[in-house]
């Protein structure tokens, strides 16, 4: 195959990726967009087997190893993607992103070893960039995975002097990077990889649970840029196009997400340098709350004209999506006006709750976005908050300095009655006390969301 044809096919794959991203931006075309992207990636991969790079010949050297490695990767990746629970989606995306970053770093290291003294300065600079960013993306993604999987605390991890350690590590990374470019050698490069991995860990540790999605999105954009840099070193137009696309769109997506969450991107990212250990004691855990029975809830609902359901991650954890739909259908059959108020970051990631409710066949038109539902809480008789906490926490509006301050919330406190279905008084993912729980118009129904909802449905049917 000639170089021209090879490059033109690469261009075709690049166009597929543009169409994929474009398609993914609209609900109607999203699935087709993803398929176009998969087609582009498949073509790009196949064509490599039919083009001999300079100084190489067909069939490719180490062909058995290459095909075997692809088979192993597919055998790991496909079942993981098929079997994952929808609730665990953010972790999986973080993990997939991490391995992509790791792959880019490894490719750069191999190319560096291969080129040896023949590498040009530009090639070395791009290699160094890929190793640093790929390693940061890899280790950072692993930490976000552990946070989301709750293998470690979801609170910001901050230790005294932490910011100096982080800044020191960054300086060391940059110093070693200069060393690699000037000295050229395997040892400096491996030291650089090690330090970059460490920096990735330190960079993500101080990020609070609620901000983790933004970090995943940012690391995703980072990985894209490493792929573009690899494209330069490996002389592949396709990698440059694909990597740059992901880097640019990922950056915009990160900003959009941060906006939806009311977070400053800067504050999230450099929280590491400014965060102070938080005083987590002194919360008034023993204040009285009003707890009710499923019957109390059913009566309240029976006489309501308008009910807004606010689902949170707890709903998904309890697998109660189907039960909540049953409750909604029952209320609708009683002539009650029912809507779901969806916070942009309900669940663990922007848009996550929409996916979870779509899985339970909740009609799309009952899902109201935050801006649509907020003005209606004044006319709402009952707001049922199921397994959500941070997204309705008024502290975001009235407690400057708290970790979620400034995040837009669903203003359920404007409704005449608020019902919280909770497992316990444990605070939400961001680890902040919710004053609304102690409000006189709030009723709490403790227990597993699915069990509680089933009882409420039963009680409501009996009325």
């Amino acid at each position: 195959m000639s170089r021209t044809i090879y490059d033109l096919i690469g261009l075709f794959a690049g166009v597929c990726f543009i169409l994929a991203l474009k398609g993914l931006s609209h609900p109607k075309t999203a699935r087709r967009g993803n398929k176009i992207g998969a087609l582009g990636a498949t073509i790009a991969t196949l064509v490599v087997f039919f083009y001999a790079n300079e100084g190489s010949s067909l069939p490719l050297n180490n062909l058995g190893w290459i095909l075997g490695a692809i088979a192993v990767g597919a055998l790991v990746g496909v079942p993981a993607a098929r079997k994952v629970q929808m609730t665990q989606m953010p972790q999986l995306v973080a993990l997939f992103n991490g391995v992509g970053g790791g792959a880019a770093a490894l490719v750069a290291i191999v190319e560096y070893l291969h080129l040896g003294d023949t590498a040009t300065t530009a090639e070395v600079v791009f290699t160094v960039f890929t190793v640093i960013v790929g390693c940061v993306s890899f280790s950072g993604s692993i930490i976000t995975f552990m946070k989301l999987q709750e293998l470690m605390t979801t609170r910001p991890v901050v230790f005294p002097g932490g910011r100096f350690v982080i800044a020191g590590t960054l300086v060391a990374v940059l110093g070693v990077a200069v060393w690699v470019v000037t000295a050229l050698g395997t040892t400096p490069l491996l030291v650089l990889a090690g330090l970059s991995l460490l920096f990735g860990v330190l960079f993500v540790l101080p990020v609070g649970g609620a901000d983790v999605p933004i970090v995943i999105s940012l690391l995703n954009a980072f990985t894209g840029l490493t792929v573009a840099a690899s494209g330069y070193v490996l002389d592949s137009v396709l990698l440059i196009i694909a990597g740059t696309l992901v880097g640019a769109s990922g950056t915009i997506l990160t900003r959009l997400m941060a906006e939806a969450m009311g977070r400053s991107l800067f504050g999230t990212l450099f929280g590491a340098f400014t965060a102070k250990p938080q005083d987590t004691s002194g919360v008034a855990e023993d204040r009285p709350v009003r707890s009710g029975s499923p019957d109390d809830v059913a009566i309240l609902l029976n006489y309501a004209r308008r009910v807004v359901i606010v689902p949170g991650f707890g709903l998904a954890v309890a697998q109660a999506q189907h039960t909540v739909r049953e409750l909604a259908d029952l209320m609708i059959s009683k002539g009650i006006d029912v809507a779901y108020g969806i916070h942009p970051v309900a669940g663990r990631m922007p848009g996550h709750m929409n996916v979870l409710l779509a899985e339970a066949n909740v009609p799309y038109d009952q899902l109201l976005e935050m801006d649509e539902v907020n003005p209606t809480f004044g006319q709402t008789d009952v707001a049922i908050v199921i397994g959500a906490n941070d997204v309705v926490n008024p502290a975001a509006q009235n407690t400057p300095g708290c970790p979620i301050y400034g995040m837009p919330i669903l203003e359920v406190s404007n409704a005449a009655n608020v019902i919280f279905l909770k497992r316990s008084m444990r605070p939400g993912f961001a680890g902040i006390e919710n004053e609304l729980l102690y409000d006189p118009k709030t009723m709490l129904l403790f227990g597993d969301a699915k069990a509680s909802l089933t009882k409420v449905v039963g009680a409501l049917k009996a009325l």
């Binding site: 990726f17 994929a20 991203l21 474009k22 993914l24 931006s25 609900p27 109607k28 999203a30 993803n34 990636a41 790009a44 991969t45 490599v48 790079n53 100084g55 190489s56 490719l60 050297n61 180490n62 190893w65 290459i66 490695a69 990767g73 990746g77 496909v78 993981a80 993607a81 994952v84 989606m89 953010p90 999986l92 995306v93 997939f96 992103n97 391995v99 992509g100 792959a103 490894l106 490719v107 191999v110 190319e111 070893l113 995703n220 990985t223 894209g224 792929v227 494209g231 490996l234 002389d235 137009v237 990698l239 640019a248 769109s249 915009i252 959009l256 990631m349 922007p350 848009g351 996916v355």
Partner: protein, 92 residues
């Protein structure tokens, strides 16, 4: 390839990347992130190229590792994005 050609491709791709996702509903943020994530799995192409010209066992070992990771990223990413989007269909 000349440096200017590469810079041109890079710059244009940046603008295209910005434009295509500038107006996306928050409903689709998760699948979009996941889909973009799958796209950078094409580093698989790079991993295959370096595996082809690996001459030492160390190079080949690292390259094979890169191929495994890149395949997980690419194949897993597209499959999981499709699973998410499947749930959106017919809910208009």
């Amino acid at each position: 390839m000349s440096a200017v050609a590469i810079i041109s491709i890079f710059t244009l791709a940046v603008f295209v990347g910005f434009e295509v996702v500038s107006k996306v509903s928050s409903t689709l943020h998760t699948p979009l992130m996941s889909g973009a994530n799958a796209i950078h799995g094409v580093i698989l192409v790079g991993a295959i190229i370096v595996a082809d010209h690996s001459t030492t066992n160390l190079e080949l070992g690292l390259a094979v590792g890169a191929i495994v990771l890149a395949t997980i990223n690419m194949v897993g990413g597209f499959v999981v994005t499709d699973r998410m989007l499947e749930m959106f269909k017919g809910k208009k």
